[in-house]
């Protein structure tokens, strides 16, 4: 929750406490305590769910019901909260579903076969890191831009699942589970396919700049709409690989290093437009670049800026719109960690061809 929201909540609590005590006296103190608790619960539902999930562990020695709930709720709540955070970054449901764990009861062989549903084995709650790492990985594999997965290169998709699972565990601050994910899932895969290391580290770097969900995953999530009802597509499998590499090169470039900014494929036609004032700033150059992209049939332009350049980027977006070349579909402003300057305000505007 943001600092502003906390300031509002604390102000409401203090003001209502003073008001209730002044009006009702001792009864007002009691009412105020309940009111404050209620307010804190309503405004922190995720945190309350997290505490509740952890609280089941206290009773696990007393009754197996607590143990089962400790395992079940930890997975449901942690995955639910983290996937919500990932979706909130872009405003698109990249991970549209939560998970719902149901404990299976022992049954005879025939009944089990007749039902035909597979059953996952879960570790006890004192090994929740392993459970969480495994469940997050399986969940991401299943749910991440599910309809578009068949159009994405297999190694890229595997790496994406690893990168998003890592992101979810980091967002949830589950560092032991993250360690478990790295050793149990990612490292063995890297041994088999060394390329996975490059992709996952590249995707981690993309995520540090906020491009993983806002550019790469958003582009990939549209594949189903673009290519359906095809079962798969060779071009898209090749281009998903190339687009990932281009974005990786872009975020890993050295200062002043020239890297490709346009991707002119048959499935993706994307232009990255970083806005920065080096010595002079001429907005006409950006409009001209947008005009070239328009002529080249580029579908989407991403206007990108950091720090003091964010204002300039917004100006560039409005000038491109005025020239009736591209229209802003959506934009995001968020904090990233800069190479030298600590926290930096970062801006991305997604513009679609008119």
């Amino acid at each position: 929750m943001s600092i502003n929201k906390w300031i509002i909540i604390i102000t409401v609590i203090v003001v209502s406490f003073i008001g209730l005590v002044w009006y009702f006296g001792l009864l007002g103190v009691v009412t105020s305590v309940f009111w404050s608790l209620l307010l804190l619960v309503i405004t922190n539902l995720d945190r309350v769910a997290d505490i509740t999930a952890s609280s089941y562990k206290w009773g696990r020695k007393v009754n197996f019901w607590f143990e089962k709930n400790a395992v079940e709720k930890r997975l449901e709540v942690s995955i639910g909260i983290a996937s919500k955070k990932v979706n909130q970054e872009t405003g698109v449901d990249l991970l549209p579903h939560g998970i719902d764990i149901k404990w299976d009861v022992p049954q005879k062989r025939d009944a089990f076969l007749e039902r035909g549903k597979m059953v996952v084995c879960l570790e006890p709650s004192d090994n929740e890191e392993r459970n969480l790492a495994r469940a997050t990985m399986l969940y991401v594999q299943e749910d991440l831009i599910a309809p578009s997965q068949r159009f994405i290169n297999t190694t890229v998709m595997k790496s994406l699942c690893f990168a998003v699972a890592r992101k979810m565990l980091m967002l949830d601050r589950k560092l032991h589970a993250l360690k478990c994910l790295n050793t149990e899932f990612i490292e063995p895969e890297i041994e088999k396919i060394p390329q996975v290391r490059q992709y996952v580290s590249g995707m981690d770097n993309l995520d540090k700049q906020g491009f993983l969900t806002r550019i790469l995953l958003r582009e990939f999530s549209q594949l189903d709409a673009k290519l359906s009802p095809a079962l798969t597509d060779t071009r898209s499998r090749t281009e998903t690989k190339a687009l990932t590499r281009m974005l990786k090169e872009f975020v890993e470039r050295e200062q002043r290093e020239l890297v490709p900014l346009s991707f002119k494929g048959s499935v993706f036609r994307v232009h990255l437009m970083p806005v920065a004032k080096i010595k002079t700033f001429d907005i006409a150059n950006f409009v001209k670049a947008a005009s070239y992209s328009h002529t080249d049939n580029i579908d989407t332009i991403y206007v990108i800026a950091r720090g003091l350049n964010v204002g300039l980027a917004k100006l560039v977006v409005s000038e491109i719109e005025k020239a009736k070349l591209y229209l802003k579909n959506t934009d995001w402003e968020y904090n990233t960690v800069g190479r030298k300057k600590g926290q930096l305000r970062t801006y991305i505007a997604e513009m679609h061809k008119v």
């Binding site: 998970i99 149901k102 404990w103 062989r109 084995c121």
Partner: protein, 84 residues
């Protein structure tokens, strides 16, 4: 986020023995007779990942990522050809 959540059937490791005894598979597990349907590795209590009904058989998948990934892909295209 969509309200619809896929249901995952699970068995707790502490109840695995009862669960597998009902399926008449506890003894084979203890004897090391069960193998991962994807990689062929011997299934143990430590590495058991998924229990899968497949036709008239019950097969197992270990907790290795590659195997879980393969199983998921196979599940998408139907489990008919998965056999021990």
């Amino acid at each position: 986020m969509s309200e619809e959540k896929p249901e995952i059937l699970a068995v707790h490791k502490q109840k695995l023995e009862i669960f597998l005894r009902e399926l008449e598979l506890w003894e084979p597990l203890m004897k090391g007779e069960l193998k991962c349907v994807a990689c062929g590795k011997i299934i143990t209590v430590d590495n058991i990942g998924i229990i899968i009904p497949s036709g008239e058989n019950i097969v197992f998948c270990c907790s290795n990522y590659e195997c879980l990934y393969k199983m998921r892909k196979q599940q998408e295209s139907g489990l008919q050809d998965v056999d021990q």
